[in-house]
């Protein structure tokens, strides 16, 4: 028997967070880039019906999180949450332009806590909706992707032009694309190198009982070193090396810069890749291997036809973890002069300009989500059909 009231704790929390965000300041109007300004809530920053619409949509979310509508529940919840997200983006963009009218050219409008909290609440609702829509389908994709798509559309149409982050962007336009490319290059290179190194290491650990423990122990150990410390630790040996062999400097081997950053990122990407390769191969049913050998396959044929396909999904899962992790860690690389989007973050911290920090942080998050989605697709494609749905 189905109960009419069945609260979904995630959706309920999200709705509460979302409603609470309406009380906080959404935008801050500042006379210039650095000073503190006046905080404005949703109604103060935006006139018209918009704010009431958002509040109303949140009430719908709240209702959906307690009332059991069975099948349409996830769809309604997800659609509402996406509507809130898109409305919020539209409103802050428009409100930014409205607030700046009649202000001096130095005046800035930046995003306040209310907007961010609203974002968090809405994503909790989206998450709950995705769980309710357990089987993958058009609805699930729509719920997951319509808000990000709207964001990208609004971004490139210049809708956020009058928000402070975008004004920081227009000041750094050239630098931005340069650091963006650098960021992609940093994590891309290190994940590819980590994969090329990690998979053989993982295989070696399963094949050689003397290698097994040291390999797994070492990759596990380095993971516990804080990223900043690892970047720092590499400075001394690498600069010593470059002093001892000055020729190495031509290849970029110096204490600071791109090389130590990539080395550190490769080391970090090793753990998930090595461990997943190891577990993936170990998890292959020994009976299948015994049968394959007994039927007359060579060791290589067993590896290629049985072990690789059966371990593939876990190995790719490891590469996915490593990639998403590397996108984030590459931000820190800016500290040792390797560049990347972290450059904006640390410069923003240095200048006490929060919007400059956001200019670095937001693209990192978007990039991480994008990489994650792409790698999930790769994992799905790499999982052989007969093993799908079995604990994965």
């Amino acid at each position: 028997m189905r109960r009419f009231f069945s609260p979904d704790s995630v959706a309920l929390t999200g709705s509460a967070v979302g409603l609470a965000s309406l009380l906080a300041g959404w935008l801050t109007l500042k006379p210039n880039r650095l000073v503190a300004g006046t905080s404005l809530d949703l109604w103060e920053s935006s006139g018209g019906a918009g704010p009431y619409l958002i509040a109303g949509l949140w009430l719908v979310c709240l209702a959906m999180s307690v009332v059991n509508l069975k099948r349409p529940r996830g769809a309604v919840l997800g659609t509402t949450a996406n509507a809130i997200l898109i409305m919020a983006l539209v409103l802050v963009g428009a409100a930014g332009s409205r607030l700046l009218q009649g202000e001096s050219s130095a005046a800035r409008v930046s995003l306040g806590a209310g907007f961010w909290v609203n974002l968090v609440g809405a994503y909790m609702a989206v998450f709950a909706a995705r769980r309710l829509l357990s089987e993958a389908g058009a609805w699930r994709h729509a719920v997951s992707w319509s808000a990000p798509a709207a964001f990208i559309l609004l971004l490139f149409s210049g809708w956020f032009h009058d928000l402070s982050v975008m004004q920081e962007y227009s000041g750094y336009q050239q630098r931005f694309s340069q650091e963006m490319i650098q960021h992609v290059r940093l994590f891309g290179t290190s994940v590819i190198a980590g994969t090329l190194l990690g998979i053989p290491l993982g295989i070696w650990a399963t094949r050689n009982k003397y290698a097994e423990r040291p390999v797994l122990f070492t990759v596990g150990m380095v993971q516990t070193v804080p990223s900043l410390a690892l970047f720092g630790l590499l400075i001394a040996p690498l600069s010593a090396l470059s002093f001892a062999f000055p020729a190495l400097r031509d290849f970029g081997i110096r204490g600071v810069g791109v090389t130590p950053a990539i080395i550190a990122l490769v080391i970090y990407s090793l753990l998930p890749i090595v461990r997943n390769t190891y577990v993936g191969l170990r998890r292959v049913d020994p009976a299948a291997i015994d049968a394959a050998l007994g039927m007359g396959m060579s060791r290589w044929q067993v590896f290629r036809r049985i072990e690789i396909p059966l371990a593939a999904s876990l190995v790719l899962e490891g590469v996915r973890t490593a990639s998403v992790q590397a996108v984030g860690l590459a931000t820190v690389a800016a500290l040792i002069g390797a560049g990347g989007l972290g450059w904006f973050v640390f410069r923003g911290i240095g200048q006490a300009a929060p919007d400059l920090i956001l200019l670095g942080a937001i693209p990192v998050i978007v990039l991480a989500l994008l990489v994650d989605a792409l790698m999930r697709l790769a994992v799905r494609l790499g999982t052989p059909e007969g093993t799908r749905g079995a604990g994965r």
Partner: protein, 364 residues
């Protein structure tokens, strides 16, 4: 013919198989049995060189296997194991097709062979060829395992508890199927089991092993009636007389049975001993019950005097064993049980006396 000559396998200090000498004739089923750790699986795995012997020789049709390339050797020997080891990422079709593909058969030949094998193990090709191992029951998976081992029609089959991981009812059905297939294909089979009933049922010869040594190698009948030593006697158990009965088919012991038709006319021979009980058959000679002869003599009509009985419950089929006959007698409280053919027509009966004499024949 598989010949093992003084085959030994050591693991450090321990000797898993100790100077084993054994011969398996072509077309025979040799069952290796013994307590766990007796070396039976090691012996099996030495035949296809998954384990190399530390000493001794293994010959197939007189050729030393040590001189044959391991892959070629294994491709020519079927291999089925208890945990089946089907490849979960391949369909049933491709699981069975593995060895033919390794042997570079052409596509048409492979698909024809797969279809044939699925038919052989009683799984409809249209339904099962496209399934993945994860979609099969335990019994179906084991049948696919056997089909896969048979794929390239190897003259020799090695089977390590091939019917181990299923419920008793399914196991019995698989054993029955195995015997049917074996009668048809006449493979040289070496099969490892720890189940004595299975060994007795399937084997042409049983090799009983203990601590790496061969204790007795003989037909099931011989092992049951003349256990070579105390170990074998203990191993086959105190009920070996009963076990022996399961090797004996009833056909040798079926005698003509006295029966009457519903019209009261005697059909077949009234036995000389003048047994009191008569089987009742209908006009198609199908068994429908039994009747007390004394009542008939008093002039009571058959219809009134008869005890109706379901043929399927009281009668045995021709392929039954004496053990089943005895069990049926004890269950029904009868001194004799009727035997019917496939269409439930009465063809005779087996009596308790015959079972007794069969038991004493072997001196068990």
């Amino acid at each position: 013919m598989i010949t093992l000559e003084q085959v030994t396998r050591r693991y450090g200090e321990t000797v898993a198989v100790d100077g084993l000498t054994l011969e398996v004739e072509n077309g025979e089923v040799c069952v290796l049995i013994g307590p766990s750790g007796c070396g039976k699986t090691t012996t099996l795995r030495m035949i296809n060189r998954l384990i190399e012997p530390s000493a001794g020789r293994i010959l197939i049709d007189g050729r030393d296997t040590a001189g044959i390339d391991t892959r070629k050797l294994r491709l020519s020997i079927g291999y089925a194991i208890q945990s089946v080891g089907l490849f979960p990422h391949l369909t049933v079709f491709h699981n069975i097709a593995v060895v033919p593909q390794l042997l570079h058969w052409d596509k048409q030949r492979i698909s024809g062979r797969v279809e044939e094998l699925l038919d052989l193990v009683g799984l409809e090709p249209e339904v099962y060829a496209g399934k993945y191992p994860g979609q099969l029951s335990g019994g179906q998976a084991q049948r696919i395992g056997v089909a896969r081992a048979l794929a390239a029609d190897p003259p020799i089959m090695l089977m390590d508890e091939p019917f181990g991981a299923v419920d008793p009812l399914t196991r019995e059905r698989l054993q029955e199927q195995f015997l049917r297939i074996q009668r048809e294909l006449k493979k040289t089979v070496v099969l490892v089991t720890h189940d004595l009933d299975e060994a007795i049922r399937l084997a042409d010869r049983i090799a009983i092993m203990e601590a790496g040594k061969l204790v007795q190698y003989d037909t099931p009948e011989e092992i049951l009636s003349r256990p070579g030593n105390k170990f074998v006697r203990d191993f086959v158990g105190a009920d070996r007389a009963l076990k022996r009965l399961s090797r004996l088919n009833i056909t040798r012991y079926v005698k003509p049975a006295a029966s009457v038709g519903l019209d009261g006319k005697a059909r077949g021979a009234i036995s000389a001993s003048g047994d009191r009980w008569l089987w009742v058959v209908d006009d198609k000679q199908q068994l429908i019950g039994w009747v007390d002869g004394n009542l008939l003599k008093e002039g009571i009509s058959i219809k009134e005097a008869m005890d109706a009985g379901d043929s399927r419950e009281i009668a045995l089929s021709e392929s039954a064993t004496l053990r089943e006959a005895l069990s049926r007698m004890l269950g029904l409280g009868f001194m004799r049980v009727p035997v019917v053919d496939n269409s439930y027509r009465l063809i005779g009966e087996v009596s308790l006396k015959d079972v007794e004499s069969a038991t004493s024949e072997g001196g068990g």
